[in-house]
């Protein structure tokens, strides 16, 4: 059962990583224009990041 000492923190850290990534995307306003983001990938010129 000692393996739990490693595996449980591992699973928590992985989950936490996903949560932090989600919060980052939310902070950077990545859900306000899903349709536009799908189209912007096709733009020729360098697309400046959001102001």
């Amino acid at each position: 059962m000692n393996i739990l000492v490693i595996l449980v923190p591992c699973s928590l850290i992985l989950g936490l990583g996903a949560l932090v990534a989600f919060i980052w995307t939310l902070r950077h306003d990545q859900y306000s224009d899903p349709a536009g983001d799908a189209q912007r990938i096709l733009l020729e010129e360098d697309d400046a990041p959001r102001p």
Binding site: M1, L4, V8, S11, L12, G15, L16, A18, L19, F22, I23, L26, D29, Y31, S32, D33, P34, A35, G36, Q39, R40, I41, L42, L43, E44, E45, R50, P51
Partner: protein, 707 residues
């Protein structure tokens, strides 16, 4: 030495200001209804970012808007002109809408999802046989994750439940909040005493599923709200004011009493005022329902909402823009205590039955078990397990899931549902009352019958060249005519369009400009034809009304117009009852009388004279061409003028109501099997988790059947 005199600061000044401006919030928003692809995005952004006065411009394709950061209060007209020149229709948005107001809710959803998945992993270990110290260890980890997560994520439910309890009401959030609190409390106690049953995963999945419903609902509503705001922006909010000898464009809100306004033909009068030009033709149908144009002379009072048919004219305002808007808002707010505030939604009704029943059962279980076994702790565990397992989850999702699917479907068809209970009320409707002018019929310019084919083709080409409402209305009568090619098309604002056709000058415009008297004329070489103004049924009135008949609805037509006009229109359409020459109060009274006979009435109207009736009716629909005031009063707004949307709305509303009732039945079915087990004391956390997820999923899948 002061800070301002420091050379470094002086140098940093403009740069810092520019950076702040770049980082700052957008100052202007333009609505671009026609953008749809990546080429549109880059064309719009390149054009706007190349202008020196604009610090940043960013297109939002989902909302079909562009946010512009520039100096506050700058006139956006040149940008709109530039965009129109490269082929993008653009309008100024009244107010920049704050970006997505539901970020807090989305964050809560993310956290609830994270916590739920981790706790579920630990729970699976416990269910598959972890025991003793391992189980306690897992329970403690689950507790550390769940408690803060539940407190933070379920906050919206706690708040809503608390405000309902304070007002001595029961809403769906009361049993939800209670279930979350009890599940957490009982599990914490179990964990501390080394017990076997912890319901942390149930508490979190309950929160997660319900937040999904809540997020979908807010998204849908904010989409509808922003679309409604876009619609309002289509009405021009800038007017031309005459300051001495110059004409300046200024926002409607800045008009004060005594301003001189210059209005082109086809404009809606923005503020009440007195006509100072010698003569003008106006369409007062928005206020009176009359379809015939009226001729007014200098000194006559023009009311906000009148449409000018001739022009340009000048007007001296008699009220402030603020005054008149405010007056109307107060007027409408006073009316708003209509059917919608008296209506109890299905969710509230269900909560009214569900909450006392389940809470009563839990209480009975507690009393029964404590009498039978004299073991208070055991009795309490069973009572709480009953509350958790009875799944407020499915009930909490039953209505929002269906409402989201139904409003989403309607939204994609260009139908905005503005009120939360609108669909439920529309499902019960058995009578449709239409306003005639502007809803079932519109007035447009029609070329005279004796006009030969050649000039008709020129007329079509001229009308196509202009965005003016009067030109647009001519096109309706020339659908099967082929346009000719014209050279050198010039539009003279407020006067007309002129061009060259095979060397001959041709023109379409107001009589005064062409030297032909009043009215709108088309001139082809030496010949001139007066365009007549005639009322006709809108193209989709016939199919829409027939569909409503087929659904078994009673159709009434109400109008402020004369009996002669009303009967002529009614002869062409399948209308059951006609009421002509009714004023706004009479319209309201008619609807009240119908409702007193037990009828459920949906009112469809567009004018200011319909707002009273719209508020009085059980449910109300306004076409997209309606005045803002009527749109505010209506539950549903049809974008574009598509009456065929009305049968669709009613059909989807009925289907949605059926799905909601089915969902309630499904939730009740689950409870019928779960409650006896819980009451007998056989409930386990695994059962709670299974019941909760499977019922939520069935309810959501059933909602998708709404068509």
């Amino acid at each position: 030495m002061t800070m301002a005199a420091c050379p470094g600061c002086v140098a940093a000044g403009p740069a810092a200001e520019r950076a702040a401006r770049r980082a700052g919030l957008p100052t202007h928003e333009l609505i671009l209804p026609t953008i749809h692809c990546s080429a549109c995005i880059s064309a719009v952004e390149r054009l706007l970012n190349a202008r020196p006065e604009i610090a940043a411009a960013r297109v939002n394709l989902s909302r079909k808007r562009v946010a512009i950061t520039a100096q506050v209060g700058l006139d956006p007209t040149p940008w709109i002109t530039a965009l129109t020149a490269i082929g993008f229709e653009a309008h100024e948005a009244r107010a920049t809408i704050a970006a997505q107001g539901n970020d807090g809710l989305t964050l809560r959803l993310g956290i609830a999802g994270f916590a739920m998945m981790n706790v579920m992993l630990l729970s699976i270990a416990v269910w598959s046989g972890a025991s003793d110290s391992t189980r306690d260890f897992f329970h403690w980890i689950a507790a550390t994750i769940s408690l803060p997560a539940a407190i933070y994520c379920a906050d919206p439910f706690f708040r809503s439940a608390w405000s309902a309890l304070k007002a001595a009401r029961l809403n769906m959030d009361v049993p939800i909040a209670l279930a979350i609190i009890l599940a957490c409390g009982l599990s914490l106690y179990e964990t501390m005493t080394g017990g076997a049953h912890a319901y942390f995963d149930a508490a979190l999945s309950l929160t997660f599923f319900l937040l999904v419903g809540r997020v979908l609902e807010t998204r849908m509503r904010s989409a509808a709200r922003s679309a409604a705001a876009d619609l309002a922006a289509l009405e021009p909010n800038r007017v031309t004011r005459i300051d001495g000898d110059t004409r300046v464009s200024c926002p409607v809100d800045e008009i004060v009493t005594g301003d001189m306004l210059w209005l082109a033909a086809g404009c809606r009068v923005p503020v009440d005022g007195v006509l100072t030009s010698p003569v003008a033709q106006v369409d007062r149908s928005a206020l009176t329902g009359e379809s015939d144009a009226t001729e007014v002379r200098a000194g006559a009072v023009l009311t906000a909402g009148d449409v000018l048919l001739s022009g340009p004219v000048t007007l001296r305002t008699s009220v402030d823009a603020k005054g008149s808007t405010l007056r109307r808002l107060v007027y409408l707010a006073a009316l708003a205590e209509g059917a919608r505030s008296r209506y109890t939604s299905l969710a509230t009704k269900a909560a009214g039955i569900y909450a006392p029943l389940v809470h009563g059962l839990a209480l009975a279980a507690f009393l029964g078990w404590s009498f039978a076994t004299a073991d208070l702790y055991h009795a309490l565990t069973i009572a709480i397990a009953t509350l958790i397992i009875t799944c407020p989850c499915a009930l909490g999702l039953a209505v929002p899931a269906v409402a989201t699917v139904a409003t989403g479907r309607l939204f994609r068809m260009g139908i905005l549902v503005k009120s939360e209970t609108a669909l439920e009320r529309l499902a019960e409707v058995d009578t449709v009352v239409f306003d005639k002018t502007g809803t079932l019929s519109d007035s447009g310019l029609v070329p005279p019958a004796e006009m030969p084919d050649g000039p008709r083709r020129v007329l079509k080409a001229l009308a196509q060249a202009s965005q003016h409402p009067l030109s647009r209305s001519v096109l309706g009568a020339l659908a099967d005519v082929q346009a000719t090619d014209l050279d050198g098309i010039q539009e003279h604002r407020g006067k007309g369009v002129c061009a060259c056709c095979a060397g001959r000058p041709v023109a379409l415009g107001n009589g005064a400009w062409l030297g032909l008297g009043t009215g709108t004329w088309v001139q082809v070489g030496d010949a001139a034809y007066l365009l007549e103004r005639r009322e006709r049924a809108v193209p989709d009135a016939m199919p829409a009304l027939s569909a409503l008949h087929a659904m078994g609805l009673d159709i009434h037509m109400l109008t402020g117009d004369t009996h002669a006009h009303a009967t002529r229109m009614a002869a062409d359409l399948p209308v059951d009852h006609v009421h002509a020459e009714v004023d706004p109060e009479a319209k309201q009274k008619l609807i009240r009388d119908l409702q007193a006979q037990g009828r459920r009435v949906v009112m469809v109207g567009d004018g200011l004279n319909d707002t009273l009736a719209l508020t009085q009716a059980w449910a109300s629909i306004a076409p997209g061409t309606a005045l803002e005031a009527s749109q505010n009063a209506a539950d549903v707004v049809l974008l574009g003028q598509q009456l065929s949307g009305i049968p669709t709305v009613l059909r989807i509303a009925r289907s949605a109501r059926r799905r909601i009732l089915e969902n309630f039945a499904l939730a009740a079915g689950y409870n019928c099997t779960a409650i006896p087990l819980a009451l007998m004391g056989f409930a386990t956390p695994l059962m709670a988790a299974l019941a909760m997820s499977s019922s939520s999923i069935t309810v959501t899948l059933n909602a998708l059947r709404t068509k």
